[in-house]
Each structure stands twice: as C-alpha cells, then as structure tokens.
Symmetry: C2
Subunit: 308 residues, 2 copies
C-alpha cells in the first residue's frame, strides 16, 4: 500500500472500491427495490418510453436479447452474419461473436454466405453508413447496447433493422437486463418472464432522467478528457451533439496500456484496452462526480510516474 | 444469471455488489475526503480518544503495526512467539504468522524458546485467561484488530501487553490503517508519516459514533443469526455485554461451506470458512441494513436449495 495524494494505491483486495462502466453500485440494490415497490410514472414518461422502445421484450442481458434476435432467422451452420462497427476495428466484443457462433459463423466482409447484417454502434458513436447497408437487402440487427442515447440528426438509429438491442446497466443504475426492440412482424413476445415487471418499472423510472444522464455523461467525458490531456493523451472519439458516450475512450501516447489495465482493475476500475487500436477506455457514467474522476485520473498519473 | 426473490444470482463480474467485513464502501472515499477537510471534534471526544488509544502510532495496516511491535524485541531466528487465541483453533490468520516469520518462528505451546506471547482476541471475543499468561513473565502483545470494541468486565483488555494492535477498517468506514497502542517505555514514535493526519482525523471523527457502532453490530449479529437459524445453522459465539462482534460467525449444519464461500464471494460478499472448525463467517458491520442482510441470507437460502 502507498498513500499518494490522499488516496491508497494497491489497497487490500477486500477494500477495493468499485468504478464500473455501468452506473450501478451496491447501494442501488436497495434503492431499486424501493423504486419497484413504489413505482409511479406520469403519462408523459410512459408515452416517451413507448415511443422510444416501441414493441419490445425484456431479457436478463443484452447477450440474451442478441441470441433471441438471431434465432429469428433460422440460420444454418454455413451461413454468415456480417458484423459492421463504427470504428471498423478488427476487435469485436465476444458478447456478440459468441452469440453468433451458437448459430453460424461471422465475418467482417460481405460474401455470398451473408444472411444477416449485425451493426454495432460502438461506445456511443453511431455507425454512419446505414444507407449502404440497406442496399444489401439483407435483414439488419442494430446493437445499441453501448449507444442507447445516441442517434443521427434524423433520429433513425434503432429503426433500420428488424431488431435493436439495448443494455439496461450500461445507462441505468441497474444490475442486469437487456431490451430487444422489435421492428418486424411475425415475432411473438414471451410475456411470462418473472423479471419483466421488475425491469420495466426500473426502466420507466430511470427513463425520466434521460436528459440528466445525457448531459452528465457529456460533461464527464469533457472533464476526463481534459484531465487525460494534461497527462499526454488525446480523445479518441469526437461525439456529435446527438451522441452520448458510454465510456471515456482516449488515444494512447506511448504508455503500457496493457499494464495500465491490470493496475486500474486492481483498484476496482472497470476499463480496458480497445484491442486492435492504441486506445483505452474508462467509465464516464452519470453517477461519477468530480471526486471520483479525479481519483481515477490520480491513479493514472501515479501509474505514469511509476513507469517512466 | 438467475432472478431469484427479486435479486440476481451469478451477476456479471463488473456488476458485482460489495459487502465487506469492513464497513468501508466506495462512497466513503469522498465522504472521508470531506471529513478530513472539515475535521472538527469536541474536547470530550479528544479526551475519550486519548484515554482509549493512549500513546499510539499510526500505520498503513494492522500488519505493519504487528511488524513494528515485534521489531521491538530483537528476536533471533531460533526464538519463538507463542500465539494464543480466543478459540484455540489450530488456524491462525496469516496476517499474524507471516509477520512473525519475518523475525523468527511461532508456536501454539509455550516452550523454552518462547520470547513473546502474542494474544489474538478473535472476532470480537476476548481471550479470557490473561492471568495465566501474565504468570509466564514474558512480553505480551495483544492483537485487537478484530476486537477494538470488546473488553472484559474490568476493562483490562488492551492494557496487559507492551503493545495493542487495532485495525481501523475493521470498525470504521476507512480503506486502510492500523494503530499500535504503546504501553511500554523506550519506544519512540515516528511522527513524520504522511498519512498520520489523514487517519487521525478520520479516527477522531468516527470515534464519536462508537456507541452506535457497537449497538448496530450487536443488533445486526442478532438479526443475521435469527435468519441463519431458520436455515438450520446456529450461532458460534456467545458474546458478553462487553463484546462487539466483528463478523457473524455461525456453526455449520452439514452444508458444503467451502463451496458456499466461493458462491458468496462471487456475489461480492467477503466471507470465509473458519478453517479448523466447522464454522463460517459473514459481514456484520454497522453499515449493513435489513435489506443488505436479507440479500445475504437470500443468497445462502438459494445456495442451500440448489445444493440439496
């Protein structure tokens, strides 16, 4: 243990704080139980919620929602799902690839075997060439797990495909849950899930905070990037006014970011290298205040200093 | 993931709650920074603090305090430190044994080589045969890391030895810190530690809550034991009115407690088998409310049900 700028470096493992990509924290377990008990929503919120999620089904996770969407197409082993992502980086989350592999294979180029196009709107940055994709005349799934509150200027993201995937914990302080928005016909929703009411009440509740969530994340990203710039890094993304960050992604400047990942995770910070790029991401959610962001920035400063 | 009684079993690893033996939680980082900034204590508290801790030195951890106490005796490799514990269980925390091994060996029986007696007041239960120990006419160290607020009816625990060890995070919501109380002469305190002011302000602040901490822990232990009794377990300790539990220790009733440990730790709960005994311990600190205790009890209920 080291005491550095009034914070502990290398804490005991059972005294690690938690800073997740999700705004979820231990205290939210009880808060959410209360919200579910006393759920009250005004009509306006219900209207906005319905207009946003349309026809939809709840799942335990975004992964389960992906699985259900894929199952719609009766894919054969030799079929391919084409994955297109905002950054076109070679790395794609295993949350997506593992689900596809349960049905068929996946590729990064369109071939004769492509049966479905899976668009990942990454980290709150939208995939911006949907027009080309639509010309393929293939079924489209849009993955907005990391981009619930990101859109284009015409508000069309989430409407292009048969299905749109959302992840509840990525934006709301909830421990689990995925939403599958259904834009196509001949899909029948399973209404009997025991967690549906619980999740719907929470999503309805937190949906009222949308504006705050969006603004706070944008502000937090600015604050983090300003601090990281002082440490020699630069912002990786430029977000449009219609996009909301789900992480703080920064471009590296010669730092051993694989080692940085281990170091920060040892301090309870969910983060990672954006493999395939010389970039790294940190939490940026709405529950982070200046104290917590400084805490993370101080750790990075310490790491740089120690590894010079 | 499984949704059971409105809580998630097997959560994603970056959506794990934290229930430590320590009352420390992530939110305390900021709270403590504020307390250190605005520290104000009344004279009465300072008086009580001084009377409780006497002449003392701050350390990063209880382990460091143990090390410093041992270093006082110029122990030789062939010397032995006799470890006596409340339960006389064969298992002793490696926090103690590892520090002793830096100087000499340790034993559980008095021999001709015994140079120091190290008393561990375990889990808030005091070692109650100090009179016999004192007849050895050997230097005594009392380890109250888990027993800061436990005493005998004459209030003598912590006064028998040359040194008494306290662990700050075990009782206060602080991430780190140990206190070495010095009851002997010819020991000189190092006053230049950069974390001393920080820790002292926090200990002074939280010391004001002593009565609440003691009562809440006693109540929480009753609540937990009542819930565990319904699940077929029994209390392991009987605490006197002068003792404050640092964990909820229960006696097993045929459950696979090694597997229970893995299961509960997967859900963010610091806990363990009390190795050497058919017993198990859980958090019981003052920051746990009924919701959190029910959460832990529900998990144990689920585990028993699944492993029948």
């Amino acid at each position: 243990m080291i005491f550095y700028k009034e914070q502990i470096i290398y804490p005991e493992s059972f005294r690690q704080p938690s800073f997740f990509i999700s705004p979820f924290s231990t205290a939210d377990l009880e808060k959410n139980a209360m919200i579910v008990k006393d759920c009250s929503c005004n009509e306006n919120t219900i209207k906005k919620y319905n207009s946003f999620f349309g026809k939809h089904e709840y799942f335990l996770s975004g992964k389960e929602a992906i699985n259900k969407a894929l199952s719609h197409y009766l894919l054969q082993k030799e079929d391919e799902v084409l994955i297109l992502t905002t950054t076109a980086n070679s790395y794609v989350s295993s949350c997506v690839t593992k689900e596809i592999e349960k049905f068929c294979t996946w590729s990064r180029q369109k071939t004769d075997k492509t049966k479905v196009v899976f668009i990942i709107h990454e980290f709150g940055k939208i995939y911006n060439d949907m027009e080309t994709v639509k010309k393929f005349n293939l079924p489209i799934i849009e993955d907005c797990a990391m981009s619930m509150f990101s859109n284009d200027e015409n508000n069309l993201i989430g409407t292009h495909g048969d299905f749109t995937i959302y992840s509840i914990p990525k934006f709301f302080p909830v421990q689990f849950g995925g939403i599958l928005k259904i834009n196509c016909e001949n899909y029948s929703i399973t209404h009997t899930k025991i967690y549906k009411d619980y999740l719907q009440k929470l999503v309805l509740h937190y949906f009222q905070d949308t504006e705050h969530i969006i603004n706070q994340r944008k502000n937090n990203n600015c604050y983090m990037i300003a601090g990281l710039t002082k440490l020699g890094f630069t912002s990786y993304f430029e977000y449009s006014e219609f996009e909301t960050p789900s992480v703080c992604m920064f471009e590296n400047n010669g730092c051993d970011i694989v080692k940085l990942k281990v170091f920060l995770q040892q301090h309870g910070i969910e983060c990672s290298v954006f493999y395939g790029k010389d970039a790294f991401f940190l939490p940026v959610h709405q529950a982070l205040g200046v104290f917590e962001m400084d805490y993370i920035l101080n750790l990075i400063e310490f790491f740089i200093h120690e590894n010079k």
